[in-house]
């Protein structure tokens, strides 16, 4: 959910950096979205394309790397990756005392500018 406001935040951050450094145009942006972040990549791309018109990112392509959800079990120290967008229990010992170590990212990595 909230892909439109996330897209706006993204645009504000990259535009701000361009303004500060005198870049003329953004060609592409690389971001990573964790599968447990609640953000759907397709919806984010759609929203970004809708709002980038007439901005410094008007021709920018958005490249999204999806990060799988990984966890570390506090009970049995098993490190695991799941297919789903959330973890209910450790696949090894079925315990529910775990930490999510990856999969909730919503980060801008870098961008290609001219």
């Amino acid at each position: 959910m909230h892909e439109l406001s996330i897209a706006q935040n993204l645009l504000d951050i990259v535009s701000g950096q361009c303004l500060k450094n005198g870049f003329k145009e953004i060609e592409s942006i690389n971001i990573k979205i964790g599968r447990a972040s609640g953000i759907m990549p397709d919806a984010l791309s759609f929203a970004f394309d809708a709002i980038k018109t007439d901005t410094i990112a008007k021709n920018a392509s958005l490249n999204i790397a999806e990060i799988p959800v990984t966890g570390l079990c506090r009970d049995c120290a098993y490190e695991f990756t799941v297919e789903e967008e959330y973890v209910l229990f450790c696949p090894s010992c079925k315990g529910s005392s775990f930490m999510i170590t990856a999969g909730r990212e919503l980060d801008i990595i870098d961008m290609e500018v001219s």
């Binding site: 935040n9 993204l10 504000d12 951050i13 609640g38 209910l88 961008m111 001219s114």
Partner: protein, 215 residues
């Protein structure tokens, strides 16, 4: 030319959440983010809490898409309250909270409840600077909800199971709700409450007094 950005997209929200946290700490305030689906009984629980002689001076921030019904109910009980209308956003964010903090006497209250927008999904995803999250589930919502909405159950410190007076009229498996909730979050403190009869309210009050450091 490649330029490193290395920024969290929600960095602005998280930064403001930290500032809210700093202001709360400065005022010696304990802050609870109260969440649930629409109609589970958040405002009723707050009314019941305010009516008890807890010894705590309580303030409330109400969050709704529109209207001021909830703030009006709290105002009748003489607690400092401010209503946020999100105008469409389905959750409160850190900036919305920041904008209203100067409307509350932070130094005069011990405990601040932030009643989030009725929604079992989004509020759990956005930091606003609270100490803990407490969620409500009314038993009329069904015993399948914990496994359908895992994040909110996992993020909360306590679950208020409300409307327990309806047990005789519903085919709801209370033990399943508790079992599934605890399997998602073994540390979850569960209160069986009825705002209608008052059942469970004293135990809830003891717990928040303990949390706010006033027991």
């Amino acid at each position: 030319m490649k330029v490193k950005v290395a920024t969290k997209i929600l960095e602005a929200n998280d930064r403001i959440a930290l500032e809210n946290r700093r202001l709360f700490d400065k005022a010696g305030l304990f802050v609870i983010n109260l969440m649930s689906g629409p109609g589970a009984g958040k405002t009723s629980v707050l009314e019941k809490t305010l009516l008890q002689d807890s010894g705590l001076k309580i303030g409330v921030i109400e969050g709704d898409i529109a209207g001021s019904d909830d703030a009006e109910r709290i105002e009748k009980l003489d607690a400092p309250v401010v209503q946020i209308n999100t105008g469409g956003a389905c959750h409160l964010d850190a900036n919305m909270i920041y904008e209203v903090l100067s409307d509350l006497p932070l130094n005069e209250i011990d405990l601040l409840f932030i009643e989030n927008v009725g929604n079992l999904v989004c509020p759990a995803e956005f930091k606003i600077g609270e100490d803990i999250k407490v969620m409500l589930l009314s038993i009329a919502e069904g015993h399948d909800k914990p496994l359908k909405y895992p994040l909110m159950f996992q993020e909360s410190s306590a679950l208020i199971l409300n409307k327990m007076d309806l047990v005789p009229y519903l085919d709801v498996d209370i033990e399943k709700i508790k079992r599934d909730s605890l399997s998602l979050n073994p540390q979850l403190k569960i209160f069986e409450v009825s705002c209608k009869t008052g059942k469970g309210i004293p135990e809830w009050i003891e717990w928040i007094k303990n949390k706010a450091g006033k027991d």
